[in-house]
């Protein structure tokens, strides 16, 4: 089953505005993470929130987790043009042999206009 469905799929805002992206997942989790991918670049790890945490901050990023609703949100405050990228949530799942693999959603493409 697909985990980590983000919405919206695309978001366009003006510099200085806040951007909120949401993610829903289907099964129980240990952790939920958010990644960013700039065009042509690799995935950059932004923040990890554990299943027993409800909110976490890192600089201009704020992540919330609601395990009862199986959802998470990523808020970027005071956005900058450099924040333009695709954002993915991912949950870690135990695979075969105890393997820890990440299950990603389709991502939200954020465009911050200068």
């Amino acid at each position: 089953s697909q985990q980590g469905e983000e919405d919206p799929q695309a978001l366009s805002i003006q510099e200085g505005e806040n951007a909120t992206m949401n993610c829903s997942y289907k099964t129980s989790i240990n952790n939920l993470q958010w990644y960013r991918q700039n065009s042509g670049r690799g995935l950059v790890h932004l923040i990890l929130i554990r299943s027993n945490e409800r909110e976490k901050h890192s600089g201009r990023l704020r992540v919330t987790l609601d395990t009862s609703k199986k959802s998470s949100s990523l808020l970027i405050t005071a956005s900058r043009a450099a924040d333009t990228a695709s954002y993915f949530c991912a949950t870690d799942v135990r695979g075969q042999g105890g393997s820890e693999k990440l299950v990603f959603g389709k991502g939200t493409k954020l465009t911050v206009n200068p």
Binding site: N31, G42, H45, Q96, G97, S99, E100, L102
Partner: protein, 117 residues
């Protein structure tokens, strides 16, 4: 500390040809993962190595894909023969060996964009 590197950054091949992608993990990372993102879809897990052993290859789409990690260092992912639907971005990630009950961040490479014509 050097990050995860992947080669090539972009490969364009014709249907039926063979392509080999390479990933060099961060030195000392026992775990190596391959993921791919097909156009417009989510990033999907392909397989996981612990050193040279395949721990989980449940995400490999079919037997046209062969991954190896000789000596537990770099890894290669070969697609033979390539099909149109193989086009996408192939990511490699590595992490330290996980302790019991702990989670180690996966560090991703820049990806290889594969285009099959």
């Amino acid at each position: 500390e050097a990050g995860v590197t992947q080669f090539p950054s972009h490969s364009v091949i014709e249907k039926g040809q063979t392509v080999t992608l390479r990933c060099d993990p961060i030195s000392g990372h026992d775990n190596l993962y391959w993921y791919r993102r097909v156009m417009g879809k989510e990033i999907k897990f392909l397989l996981h190595f612990v050193k040279e052993s395949k721990q989980d290859e449940s995400g490999m789409p079919n037997n046209r894909f062969l991954a190896e990690r000789t000596g537990g260092t770099y890894s290669t992912l070969k697609v033979q023969p390539a099909e149109l639907e193989d086009s996408g971005v192939y990511f490699c990630a590595s992490s330290r060996r996980s302790g019991r009950g702990s989670y180690n961040e996966q560090f991703f490479g820049p990806g290889t964009r594969l285009t099959v014509l």
